[in-house]
Point group: C2
Chain length 200, copies 2
């Protein structure tokens, strides 16, 4: 049983990487098998609903990973401003380190046609909702009021999603750096005076 | 000659629409012929370099359209703040009016695998550069200093690119509205006191 779920997790991870690099339309099961080293029989055993199931599980894994990153960054931050800046800075560094080779694992579910548009749409909605809500949750913990935290979280996630595209196109970290400067003013406008509230 | 270039323009427009709806991988020449009503022979006559040529010309058309929109919005605006807010508001309304059915005409060149990744990458770099530079140009005309205009333009385009994805996933205008509020603080931080400088 353990080995079986290892195989499945490896396939989901490989699919997530491939979708971030080239989208889901250009990612075939054969590519996923090759990158994960999983045996061919794994496809219908682990993904009886086919490619859409794999793509949706990869998007869920991407969202889950982002939530974990957000939690970790919040843990190390001393203020709402530091939290947002560190989150964007980490995404910037990851983009540069990848040689501008990968984007978001959820966005392709929105932008590419598929045979299951409703399921893909629902999975992307859920993924972005989870990430944005987690960001807003930590902003509130840092003392930002609920409504402002929601606005700021929406803007940060939109900005990060876009920078994953424009920074990659330009092969430059500049969009991330600009976003950090521009959003610092937005955070300052809604942040409480105290540098850190009780958190966690 | 006029008729021939009409056919080509219609095909590029149809390709742009389809790519905004479903990306370029899921857009076949047959779909473009169907939507544009162009005769089958047009494909190799107008696009001798094949699908990549069509996709790149569609992205160029999208960038050109955005530059025109930016010029028009700047013409009607009274300040840097009004300009940015109107640009984002227009994109928001377009997204809602489409029933959340279309995104960016350039982003798929970045996020989807293709047989000509270098040409696609170069076209996307050029497209985003044109749009961002135009936005920065108008911000400078509204009195924002050069460096701040560049930062703000980068952030606005990243935010808009991302909202084209997250707003579509959520089927909600909320990300656009949040972006307008968050970036208003960024604009206020760099705007000159005067409501409008000499412009145009």
């Amino acid at each position: 049983m353990a080995r079986r779920s290892d195989v499945k997790a490896k396939m989901v991870e490989a699919a997530k990487q491939l979708i971030r690099e080239r989208g889901h339309g250009a990612t075939a099961f054969a590519d996923v098998l090759e990158r994960s080293g999983a045996p061919r029989g794994s496809v219908y055993y682990h993904f009886p609903d086919g490619k859409s199931q794999l793509v949706i599980e990869a998007a869920q894994a991407h969202a889950h990973e982002q939530v974990q990153i957000i939690d970790r960054v919040a843990q190390d931050a001393a203020s709402a401003a530091g939290f947002i800046d560190a989150y964007l800075g980490l995404a910037r560094d990851g983009m540069a380190a990848s040689g501008y080779s990968r984007g978001c694992g959820i966005a392709p579910l929105v932008t590419e046609g598929s045979e299951d548009p409703d399921e893909m749409g629902e999975a992307s909605r859920r993924g972005f909702s989870e990430i944005t809500s987690r960001l807003a949750f930590h902003l509130v913990a840092f003392g930002v009021d609920q409504a402002a935290a929601r606005v700021l979280a929406d803007a940060v996630i939109a900005g990060a999603e876009g920078a994953l595209v424009t920074s990659r196109a330009l092969r430059s970290p500049a969009p991330w750096d600009s976003l950090r400067v521009a959003l610092a003013a937005s955070v300052a406008a809604v942040s409480p005076k105290a540098s850190r509230q009780a958190h966690g």
